[in-house]
């Protein structure tokens, strides 16, 4: 069990390293392009949701689906549930994790804040992929409050279903 959790953390941070270092060499830019990370997350999420929902009935509506993401999905990936879920009932959801696992070892303040975006983009993709496979096409962005608190904003595209 111990090695399982750590393995995911280490492999994720190496993935981040790999993607960002490669970009640095190519363009000599500091931040680089995080879309490969987001894409890797998307594919992972898309696949993982297939396994997680195999014993579940169909979800009634969008809110139910997002609730599932906050509870079961999040606890199977991050060993805890989302701390706060907010929605405007018009397709915008805000998922707040007060101690996000990829950030809670890094800092408890503003230190290292410039590194934070690298460590959330995989998870943005993960959420987008999971929701995409459940028939919700959306845009996921992250907002980092003082670390390790992180808010994921989900914006659903209305009327566009994924094939």
């Amino acid at each position: 069990m111990f090695a399982d959790d750590v393995l995911y953390e280490f492999i994720h941070s190496e993935l981040v390293n790999y993607v960002t270092n490669k970009k640095n060499e190519d363009e000599n830019s500091k931040t680089g392009d995080l879309s490969p990370l987001e894409y890797a997350g998307f594919i992972t999420g898309f696949r993982i949701i297939e396994r997680l929902t195999k014993d579940w009935p169909r979800f009634q509506n969008e809110l139910e689906t997002v609730k599932f993401i906050c509870t079961d999905f999040w606890s199977s990936v991050y060993k805890k549930q989302i701390d706060n879920l907010r929605t405007n009932h018009q397709g915008v959801y805000v998922l707040q994790d007060n101690s996000f696992r990829f950030l809670n070892k890094i800092s408890g303040s503003k230190q290292y804040l410039e590194h934070a975006p690298k460590y959330v983009s995989f998870t943005c993709g993960l959420l987008r992929g999971a929701l995409a496979n459940l028939g919700i096409n959306c845009l996921v962005t992250a907002e980092i409050q003082p670390m390790p608190c992180c808010k994921f904003h989900i914006q659903v595209h209305k009327g566009k279903k994924i094939e």
Binding site: V16, I106, G108
Partner: protein, 144 residues
């Protein structure tokens, strides 16, 4: 019990971290010089102890005491060295050193992808957690 100060060295003898809580007398030399001196002494003591021991040693050098203070030493299999100075009556310091290693160093340095393991530790979170660990150690609060 009083905890005076803590040194963490990597396997190459680099000072990764230094913290002090109740240090009444300063060494009068720079921190770098002091760290080299400390590491040199530990290195000599370690080889001295292993050569002079009449029996096969398992743990090797663990601690020494003077009239005023005790120095406790923990070396991990990976070569990290934790050195903690306390007063002479301190109990269970070895446990504390183990906890500093496994609950603070491993958690907030090894698992922090932003920190390079060879560089001196600058993470604020590590500092906060270490302070917390030292202060919540049962014997510390009673004396100070």
């Amino acid at each position: 019990m009083t905890i005076h100060n803590l040194y963490i060295f990597d396997k190459f003898g680099c000072l990764l971290y230094y913290a002090e809580w109740n240090r009444l007398k300063s060494s009068g030399i720079t921190r770098e010089e002091e760290a080299k001196l400390m590491y040199g002494m530990l290195f000599s003591l370690k080889s001295f102890v292993s050569k002079i021991s009449p029996l096969d040693t398992k743990k090797g050098f663990v601690c020494y005491k003077t009239n005023k203070y005790a120095l406790h030493y923990l070396e991990t299999p990976t070569g990290l060295k934790f050195v903690l100075n306390t007063d002479v009556n301190a109990q269970n310091v070895r446990d504390l050193l183990h906890q500093i290693y496994s609950k603070v160093y491993v958690e907030y340095v090894v698992k922090n992808p932003v920190v390079n393991l060879r560089d001196p530790i600058k993470s604020e979170l590590f500092k906060v957690k270490l302070d917390g660990m030292i202060k919540q150690f049962p014997a510390v609060s009673k004396a100070s």
